[in-house]
């Protein structure tokens, strides 16, 4: 139990130290990174297996009892997300290694590997932190690593984007710290289970202000409208491997933190109306933005913003069925976003850019690429039988079941967003994939295929294929996944199991 919860933190940090020492020998550095992430994946799988029936694993670091020390907690939701994230991190790492082998990237691998592993540790810590302060530490580890990653292969555009990104993230971090201080002033503890107990007796107005504050600063990181402006400006310009991980994980970690704090700490009825309105706005504004963009990466970034709205919508409903939908949606969305950004990276390899104005006939240039784009894109839009369909149906069913004007509006907005996503995708499809390819694209492809970088390109394509496969696997394994999500959601709705697991029977 202790080992399972410690490995996702200790092993990536050890790996980071080793890869930093090995920076002169790229091959051993790559092997060390892959080994590290494989260990994390296996560990996460075991963790999920142990918690699949709703068991909550707790480890008190340093044997300090719960409200005082550092608590690491894994409930089914956290375990599921750690597993999904580590799988995505591993596949994107292999993709990046392929790119480096082929000499197709201007990233500096010596720096990339250690920071990437530190980012892994930050993501894992955010998922399994049992107290607010370690949640903050996890966020900071993740964000500090991301500041360094976003400026890899610096260009004028990247430095500009990273300025926006860093300033916005720091603002949200400062607010987060303020929030923790306020909670501590009110309850005298930072342990989430303990806060949950003690906030019950706090004045409801104060509780509501705190709930809103927590929603705002996690909302900035999750790119919820109207705090989404930074995302489409900063993600698309980063290197592919980095924007894939950012799009897949960073916003989702923030969504996870929103769900965790709003369900465990605050009686969510306090602000559920606000959350619902914001969720609807996020869906609509995000997808309308996606419809008018001229760059595939930017379309995907706006679609990302829009689909965050679905998860927030599920949270606003707050029923067990809705939260189960959210958990499944998180898994689906992490995988699909990573796949789409990896495909965009391949397009960038073939064409040199991702602007819709100058791409035509990608299907002829690379049929495999077209397939790899098409499957996850349909999943994003929510067409059956893809995983997106299952996730959306679960959310809509929960919305209809809970009834009420707002819930129905949310469902309607969700359906509309799905349709608009479909339009956005077919816009990309007709402009970039159909037609006869431009002569310069055919030329570029020949050049790419003839050079010494062919092996690297094969690895990249294979890894994108693996990611598409993982996406299909999410759809195929939807039955067991929904079961786990349901268990996770029941734990979320009824926080008592979590509190008892952390504080122990006598601690209550």
């Amino acid at each position: 139990m202790n080992v399972l919860l410690a490995i996702p933190l200790i092993v990536p940090l050890l790996g980071a130290a080793v890869t930093l020492l090995l920076r002169r020998t790229p091959r051993s550095q790559q092997i060390a990174s892959v080994l590290t992430l494989s260990v994390v994946v296996v560990n996460a799988a075991v963790l999920l297996w142990q918690t699949r029936d709703g068991a909550i694993m707790v480890s008190q670091a340093g044997n300090w009892p719960a409200p005082l020390g550092i608590t690491l907690v894994a409930d089914p939701m956290a375990a599921l997300l750690v597993l999904t994230s580590s799988v995505v991190l591993l596949v994107v790492l292999l993709y990046a290694i392929g790119q480096d082998i082929g000499g197709l990237s201007r990233a500096t691998p010596q720096i990339f590997h250690p920071i990437y592993l530190v980012l892994t540790a930050g993501v894992c810590l955010s998922f399994i932190a049992g107290d607010l302060f370690n949640l903050f530490v996890g966020f900071e580890i993740m964000l500090t690593a991301s500041y360094a990653l976003i400026t890899q292969a610096p260009t004028r555009a990247r430095v500009r984007a990273s300025m926006i990104y860093t300033v916005v993230s720091l603002t949200s971090s400062i607010l987060f710290l303020t929030g923790i201080a306020l909670v501590y002033a009110l309850t005298g503890t930072v342990n989430m289970a303990d806060i949950s107990e003690k906030l019950g007796t706090a004045p409801p107005e104060l509780r509501m202000v705190l709930a809103l504050l927590f929603f705002v600063f996690f909302g900035i990181k999750a790119a919820i409208v109207p705090m989404h402006f930074w995302l489409p400006d900063s993600y698309p310009v980063a290197l592919t491997r980095i924007s894939a991980i950012f799009a897949a994980l960073l916003t989702k970690v923030a969504v996870y933190a929103i769900i965790r704090t709003q369900t465990l700490l605050f009686l969510r009825d306090d602000i559920s109306t606000v959350i619902m309105v914001v969720a609807i706005a996020t869906m609509i504004v995000g997808i309308l933005g996606a419809l008018v963009q001229d760059d595939i990466n930017r379309v995907m970034s706006f679609a990302l913003v829009s689909h965050i709205g679905f998860m927030i919508f599920g949270l606003a409903l707050g029923t067990a069925a809705a939260l189960a939908g959210v958990v499944f949606y998180l898994v689906h969305h992490i995988v699909v976003q990573a796949t789409l950004f990896m495909v965009n990276g391949l397009i960038r390899q073939y064409v040199g850019h991702t602007s819709l104005r100058a791409i035509r006939g990608l299907t002829t240039v690379s049929p495999v690429l077209a397939l790899f784009f098409f499957l996850p894109a349909l999943s994003l839009a929510g067409l059956p039988p893809m995983s997106g369909f299952i996730a959306k149906v679960a959310l809509f069913e929960a919305g209809v079941a809970s009834g009420g004007t707002l819930a129905w509006t949310g469902v309607a907005a969700g359906v509309l967003t799905s349709l608009l996503t479909l339009i956005a995708i077919f816009r990309i499809w007709t402009r970039a994939f159909w037609g006869t390819p431009r002569p310069d694209m055919v030329e570029a492809k020949k050049q790419l295929r003839s050079g010494s970088n062919l092996g690297g390109l094969h690895v990249m394509t294979a890894m994108t294929g693996v990611m598409v496969g993982v996406g299909l696997l999410v759809a195929v394994a939807a039955g067991p996944l929904i079961d786990v999500s349901m268990t996770a959601a029941e734990d979320l709705v009824d926080g008592r199991a979590y509190i008892t697991a952390v504080l122990g029977e006598e601690g209550r």
């Binding site: 202790n2 080992v3 919860l5 410690a6 933190l9 200790i10 940090l13 050890l14 980071a16 130290a17 080793v18 930093l20 020492l21 920076r23 480890s59 008190q60 670091a61 340093g62 044997n63 550092i70 690491l72 250690p114």
Partner: protein, 234 residues
């Protein structure tokens, strides 16, 4: 022999009494004639200051000892790996301010990156080791020893974790100093040398031109320029 190591280009520790062989005149009345720090390169800013160099030399060992004291006393009193690491890195920063980047490089036991990764390895190992004994991460074991001079000594396994933190902090501060101080200083120096060279080149060119003009003039006035005998066609 100090001169030998000086010839091989490796810095050596020199005490008072070793003559300054850097060549050139002292830059001012306060510039030291004897070497106090291990390198004798002109510092980053201003002329060399005897006061700063002497004080730095005297203080650095004391600061390092203090940092180790903070490190080992940190488990139940103020201090710890973080504070100790900061104090230790201040010793190096002082050295850098007194002697410039050559002095910083000469004083480093390891490269900052190596320090960072070493610290991370030690820290993570110390944090993860209790897992092998079935305890949670960061659990501490305690030993009480009776040492001849120190008397009763309590040793906590957390000390190893603190050592890791100490090294990480030193490595981090040093890499910040290396990146933001020494690197920029080197680039600035490069730019300055380039500019000086450009100015020198320009001056030389102007001088040559005026020389040529003067020569032409001096040739002009006494006798007319000789006609081209071959009748070069252009």
């Amino acid at each position: 022999m100090p001169t030998e190591s000086f010839e091989t280009g490796r810095p050596f520790i020199a005490g008072p009494g070793v003559p300054d062989e850097s060549g050139g005149l002292p830059e001012g009345w306060e510039a030291p004639r004897e070497r106090w720090l291990s390198t004798v390169v002109r510092p980053a800013f201003g002329p060399r200051s005897v006061l700063l160099e002497v004080v730095a030399r005297l203080l650095i060992p004391a600061i390092l000892v203090l940092s180790v004291f903070l490190l080992v006393s940190g488990h139940d009193r103020p201090g710890g790996g973080f504070a100790g690491g900061l104090v230790a890195s201040m010793a190096y920063v002082l050295r850098y301010i007194a002697g410039g980047r050559q002095e910083l490089i000469a004083g480093l036991p390891l490269r900052p990156n190596a320090l960072l990764s070493l610290g991370m390895l030690i820290g993570c190992t110390a944090a993860g080791l209790p897992l092998l004994f079935g305890s949670p991460v960061l659990d501490t074991a305690k030993w009480e020893l009776v040492l001849p001079v120190f008397g009763d000594v309590k040793v906590l396994s957390a000390l190893f974790f603190e050592v890791g933190v100490y090294l990480i902090v030193v490595g981090l501060v040093l890499s910040v100093v290396a990146a933001l101080g020494a690197r920029m200083e080197a680039e600035e120096e490069e730019a300055r040398t380039e500019q000086e060279q450009r100015i020198a080149r320009q001056a030389r060119r102007t001088a040559q031109r005026s020389d040529a003009v003067r020569a032409a003039e001096s040739q002009d006035t006494p006798q007319p320029p000789p006609m081209n005998p071959g009748g070069e066609t252009r």
